[in-house]
Symmetry: C2
DNA sequence: CTTCTTTATCGTATTATTGCAATAAGACAA
DNA sequence: TTGTCTTATTGCAATAATACGATAAAGAAG
């Protein structure tokens, strides 16, 4: 139905899915990579770095913000978008069990 | 347009996005968690563990398989789905720079 | 106040995703 | 062969996501 049945799953499962979904687009991956390597966090610089229209980049930033992966703060006339360390720690923590599991594959 | 402009991004960015996108649904998170904790990998057991119709679960399994996060092997009359360790290692490796970066937040 | 800069939102077209019933396809058993 | 069990595929309806031009909103600069 195009509508995810989130009620059938745990809060944690939904949160992990939300993190992953937010990262599930190359433009948003590029934004995160940019923020991980650049000291510059001004919105306009991100827009310049991503090969999409300003409106589209703004939309992607909004989704990353909604998922909590980035946070925005007003910096004079512009806006500074930065990674949200706590959410990323949680994201990492939720992936850890699977990352650990694949070290000793037990299956077929 | 509903069509991702993947051409504008690197192969790596697209691959990371594909991994993340595959994990971007609670049902698929639940499947991965199941495979990370259960020794049982038979398709039917997964279907039983996920509160969705068989056809829907089969579709989610297909997406995880397309992304490479799981692999299926014929096991007698049924099919065994397991995590693909190599792809998960790559996934982890691609997230590492950001996981590392958030240890020393340098931004606003 | 006016203008410019910066970012967000709206409207819209297009395509993708989700979900399930129904059905198909394949292997195995009798 | 016939039936059963297991998994995949098809077809469809409903909803979500992607992209961008146009426009709005809010400050800064003059």
């Amino acid at each position: 139905m195009g509508l995810s049945k989130t009620d059938n799953f745990t809060t944690e499962q939904n949160e992990l899915a939300a993190f992953a979904k937010a990262l599930g687009h190359p433009a948003r991956v590029a934004i995160i990579e940019y923020l991980s390597t650049q000291a510059n966090c001004v919105c306009g610089s991100i827009v310049d770095a991503i090969p999409l229209a300003q409106a589209t980049v703004s939309q992607h930033l909004k989704e990353l913000k909604n998922a909590g992966l980035i946070q925005g703060s007003i910096e004079g006339n512009s806006i500074c978008y930065c990674l949200n360390p706590e959410k990323w720690k949680k994201f990492k923590q939720m992936l850890e069990p699977t990352f650990t599991h694949i070290e000793q594959p037990v299956c077929c």
